[in-house]
């Protein structure tokens, strides 16, 4: 048979082949592969693989220090979850803490020693040689020391009370009298006001709403995630809540009584309440009378000051009626044990020492200070850990402007509302050097810095976390290392030792990383030897008495596994150890100057049409570094306002000719900032609010910056005055429109 291949038969064969192949697996396999290919692009992110495990640690992103369960896949720290039963924040974690795992890879993380010339036209960060930079800095310190100007060196510790804090103080002492400074946030400032009224030292207030029948609260979001310690609603067996709040906030709406006092009138309102207690409600109480008549050094007594704050006189400026004030005071007196809390909206910085003192006085008058009352007293951290005296901590605002050659800022804690401008002003001219020990080029420390030392990010090293200010109990835990440290990151203590060596001193054994570890162990030992308190083990949820722990290593071991030590506030503050008008009685005059309210007192020369309140929202801090996923709250759902949105009531905005979403220029006596108008009818007329929180436009993108960028504390004049939560402002539509 011959093969007779014609064109026709070839075509037939090809046609048959095509039809036949459809019946074969080939085309279907190809289709299937094509389908799989579209599902598995090589550029889709690949999660880590490996066995799942958990480690327990403490959150370091805010002072509350919540317990945290770190989820690990292999060696990768992938997510953080709350620890059920943890006493720090009732086993909860806020959005910042939940996103803690992302902080190590934050886009603004510094990947080496970074320096910038702020005066230069292009003040961009450049990675420089670490050893050379440390050497240069050491020579500066040596020069200061040799000319006897130790006080031109300072360290600002934004998280005082840690083992690292002690290392800073000792380092400064060896440098010939350097300054150890803190920049108190709203809670720390409130605690400091309390300590300032006591004549016995090293005490910390420990208010416990759970032990009160009535709680009077000035502005803090007590039912809305207040430091992870929500108040139980009255209906569910909690205390009766009286909220003093200018805005119709969630806490105000859920309170049993809401006093919509004008912003800035907190001190006169508190003093008017005290007036009613002293002259009317508790006039028959011998203890109250003794306190009211206690003579101070300048001869004044609480009674004479309070006489000027009758409800009738305060009512006009506070927006409240005399009856509201009287009823509230009587309700407090009848509903004892009562607790009065200050702090206000912490996003706007301290409420003010005058306000806080007036509020603590209410607590004193209402009694119940001590282990059985609603206001407990616990030892300050320095007292708790038997620290030797180093240089005393000073407030940042007490350092004279233009006096420092070298200012080190511990920014391992990214968010604290500190004025960048205030920090810069402390430096001696253009040669002064601001050095941030910070993982990030941003935040409280990174924003004003000339030089950034890339220290470990949260989760990369073992650090201790003392009890937050105003905590109801003493507590202590370690933030354990749950992640592999970045190769470029430095241990702050280790770097401090290098610096000390570079400055020509011999580093003693208590310096450096080993010194830090020894101090951590020492602290565990102190707690063990005291023998009081309990240790909560997050792994099994059990609590063990410290008294049952025979060996200091047992406690240290537990802390290293993420356990938390805590102890009841057991101290008492006797009435004889209290000075209601402060040491020397100086509060009397300061209160009288605030009789008309704080906003008017702070009013600059030019009258602004709006009263601007700083704060609101999650607002951890001005220019804070927040995890990229927080965009979900700030940008994608608009739940948190961020620092580029100005909240103002619809009526007020329309009176200024501004529609919702309009770009506007907000001007104060201290600066200006472009904002977007956001209607918020919870605000009273002529009051605006801006969050001192992160800038949603910049989140995850630190390179972006606008010309008219002013951080909220600086916009409100925080560089010049300790209380900056209120300021007069003008608002005008921005016509260039590129907000």
């Amino acid at each position: 048979m011959t093969l007779d291949l014609t064109r026709r038969s070839l075509l037939k064969f090809m046609g048959g082949a095509v039809v036949g192949s459809v019946l074969s697996p080939l085309p279907w396999k190809l289709l299937d592969d094509a389908a799989i290919w579209t599902q598995n692009w090589s550029w889709i992110a690949r999660p880590p693989r490996g066995p799942v495990s958990h480690m327990f640690t403490t959150c370091q992103l805010c002072p509350v220090g919540c317990g945290m369960r770190a989820r690990l896949i292999g060696a990768s720290f992938v997510s953080a979850w709350p620890v059920v039963g943890d006493p720090a924040a009732a086993g909860t974690l806020c959005p910042l803490g939940l996103a803690a795992a992302q902080m190590r890879y934050h886009p603004s993380r510094v990947r080496g020693v970074a320096r910038r010339a702020r005066a230069a036209a292009d003040p961009a960060w450049r990675i420089v040689d670490a050893d050379a930079t440390t050497g240069e800095l050491g020579q500066r310190l040596a020069a200061c020391r040799s000319r006897g100007a130790g006080d031109s060196i300072a360290i600002v510790d934004l998280r005082p009370g840690r083992a690292m804090s002690r290392l800073y103080r000792e380092f400064l002492a060896r440098q010939g009298g350097g300054i150890y400074a803190t920049a108190p946030d709203a809670w720390q400032a409130s605690a400091a006001a309390f300590a300032g009224m006591a004549t016995v030292g090293a005490l910390a207030p420990a208010p416990d709403p759970a032990r009160a029948r009535t709680v009077l609260n000035f502005g803090a979001p007590l039912t809305a995630g207040w430091r992870g310690r929500d108040i139980v609603p009255h209906a569910a067996g909690g205390p009766r809540l009286i909220q003093v709040d200018p805005a119709a906030t969630i806490t105000a709406a859920r309170a049993d009584r809401w006093l919509p006092a004008r912003p800035g009138s907190e001190a006169p309102v508190a003093l008017a309440l005290a007036h009613v207690l002293v002259f009317e409600a508790l006039a028959a109480d011998a203890r109250v009378n003794a306190l009211a008549d206690l003579p101070h050094e300048n001869g004044s007594t609480l009674r004479t000051v309070l006489a000027d704050f009758a409800p009738e006189r305060v009512a006009a400026n506070s927006g409240l009626t005399p009856a509201q004030l009287r009823d509230t005071a009587r309700e407090l007196a009848a509903g004892r044990p009562a607790l009065v809390l200050g702090v206000g909206d912490a996003g706007g910085g301290p409420l003010g020492s005058e306000e806080e003192a007036a509020i603590w006085n209410l607590n004193l008058l209402l009694g119940a200070v001590g282990p059985d009352g609603a206001l407990g007293v616990r030892p300050a951290d320095t007292a708790l850990f038997d620290e030797p005296a180093g240089p005393a901590a000073r407030s940042l605002s007490d350092i004279p402007d233009g006096s420092l050659d070298v200012l080190l800022v511990d920014g391992s804690f990214p968010g604290v509302p500190v004025s960048a401008e205030q920090l810069r002003r402390k430096l001696r001219g253009p040669d002064g050097l601001l050095v941030a020990l910070s993982p990030y080029a941003g935040g409280a420390a990174g924003t004003p810095a000339d030089l950034i030392l890339p220290v470990f990010a949260p989760g990369e090293w073992v650090e201790d976390v003392p009890a937050p200010a105003l905590a109801a109990r003493s507590s202590y835990s370690w933030a354990t290392a749950v992640a592999v440290p970045a190769p470029f990151a430095l241990h702050p203590a280790e770097w401090l030792a290098q610096l000390e060596a570079a400055s020509g001193l011999v580093v003693p054994p208590e310096g450096g990383k080993s010194g830090h570890e020894a101090e951590l162990k020492r602290r565990a030992g102190v707690l063990q030897s005291r023998g009081s308190g309990q240790v909560f083990d997050p792994a099994d949820g059990n609590t063990t008495d410290v008294a049952a722990m025979s060996d200091p290593d047992l406690l240290a071991g537990a802390l290293a596994r993420g356990a938390r030590w805590s102890d009841k506030a057991t101290l008492t503050l006797a009435d004889r150890d209290v000075r209601p008008l402060g040491q020397g009685g100086g509060l009397a005059a300061r209160w009288r100057s605030l009789a008309g309210g704080r906003a008017d007192a702070a009013k600059p020369g030019a009258t602004g049409s709006l009263l601007l309140m700083a704060g609101g929202g999650l607002a951890p801090a001005a220019g804070a570094i927040t995890a990229p996923v927080l965009n979900k709250l700030y940008r994608e759902s608009g739940l948190q306002p961020g620092s580029r949105q100005l909240a103002v009531s619809a009526t007020t905005a329309r009176a200024l000719g501004l529609a919702e979403g309009k770009s506007a220029l907000l001007t104060t006596a201290h600066g200006r900032r472009r904002v977007k108008v956001r209607f918020d009818n919870s605000l009273p007329p002529d009051v605006a609010r801006i969050a001192a929180g992160p800038d949603p436009a910049d989140m995850g993108d630190p390179a972006a910056s606008a010309d008219d960028r002013t951080d909220i504390p600086d916009l409100c004049g925080a560089a010049e005055r300790p209380v900056w939560r209120l300021v007069r402002a003008d608002l005008q539509e921005a016509h260039d429109g590129n907000a």
């Binding site: 599902q39 692009w41 889709i44 992110a45 690949r46 999660p47 880590p48 693989r49 896949i73 990768s76 992938v78 997510s79 979850w81 709350p82 924040a89 009732a90 909860t92 974690l93 806020c94 959005p95 939940l98 996103a99 795992a101 992302q102 190590r104 890879y105 934050h106 886009p107 979001p221 039912t223 809305a224 995630g225 992870g228 929500d230 119709a248 969630i250 709406a253 919509p260 999650l618 990229p628 996923v629 965009n631 979900k632 709250l633 940008r635 994608e636 759902s637 608009g638 739940l639 948190q640 009531s649 619809a650 209607f679 009818n681 919870s682 009273p684 436009a697 989140m699 995850g700 993108d701």
Partner: protein
């Protein structure tokens, strides 16, 4: 309420709005658990990916009578889901054994018909290539596959956690037919205990009891979608937000201002 005749499990969620304070923890916990990407800063408004959207709603009144509530809105996992029957590529499916409406991103072709169909705006589209800052992919959850651009995604009641719970149950030798208990990320993270999750078919279980409370309501109940997410509030004005716009206006006499 229609239930599946043979099924013993029907997962459902109850959100107590009186406990919710609008902190957004659920929103963030969800994003972290489910590898939800973050669009770049230049992204337009309303292009986010918030499986658990937290929406602030107010009563439309001025200070001092102004009140707000935050409504967490996950996928409502409707019994009569408007999104299932519209999908041309069968990328949306109801799991009869759990009641969960699942989304298969690897099959989705991105026509967005399901998004147009959903009255709760609970579906999101990947307008951008999901990108994570350098190194951040090391914090992704291996139990949930990251998506690619051009597909829709939404809440699936943390299906990754359900799978883990089933694996655990299997490892413990429990029969596969036995209902599995697990907690989605939002319910675990909520600091105020506002979110309850569980099997609504469980006799005497918490979900069935909460769903029967007089303060329970659902969003747009009249549409007949029968959501498996129930909301609770003792405040009458908050209960009215579940109604359509008109009903709410009638209840107020003043136009509400949605957030």
């Amino acid at each position: 309420m229609e239930t599946h005749s043979k099924a013993t499990v029907c997962y459902a969620m109850v959100i107590d709005l009186d406990k919710c304070v609008g902190c957004g923890t659920c929103n963030v916990a969800c994003a972290i658990e489910n590898n939800v990407s973050v669009p770049p800063p230049e992204a337009l408004e309303n292009r986010g990916l918030t499986w658990m959207r937290t929406q602030r709603v107010d009563n439309g009144k001025a200070w001092p009578d102004h009140r707000t509530v935050t409504v967490p809105i996950p996928c409502q996992h409707c019994e009569h889901a408007p999104c299932i029957h519209v999908c041309p590529v069968t990328a949306v499916q109801l799991d009869e054994s759990t009641g969960i409406i699942g989304q298969i991103p690897t099959r989705c072709m991105g026509c967005r018909y399901c998004m147009a169909a959903c009255p709760y705006h609970a579906r999101y589209f990947n307008w951008f290539d999901p990108k994570w800052p350098e190194g951040l992919q090391d914090t992704l959850n291996p139990d949930v596959a990251p998506r690619m651009r051009g597909v829709a995604e939404k809440c699936n009641f943390c299906h990754g956690r359900l799978d883990r719970a089933r694996e655990l149950a299997a490892a413990e030798g429990r029969p596969a037919a036995e209902p599995v208990h697990y907690t989605p990320a939002c319910a675990e993270a909520c600091p105020h205990g506002a979110i309850t999750f569980g099997n609504r078919l469980e006799e005497g279980g918490p979900i069935a009891a909460l769903e029967k409370k007089p303060e329970a309501f659902r969003l747009l109940e009249a549409l007949g979608t029968a959501p498996k997410v129930t909301y609770l509030s003792r405040e009458p004005w908050i209960r009215r937000i579940g109604l359509s716009r008109l009903d709410r206006v009638r209840g107020h006499g003043d136009g509400p201002e949605g957030a």
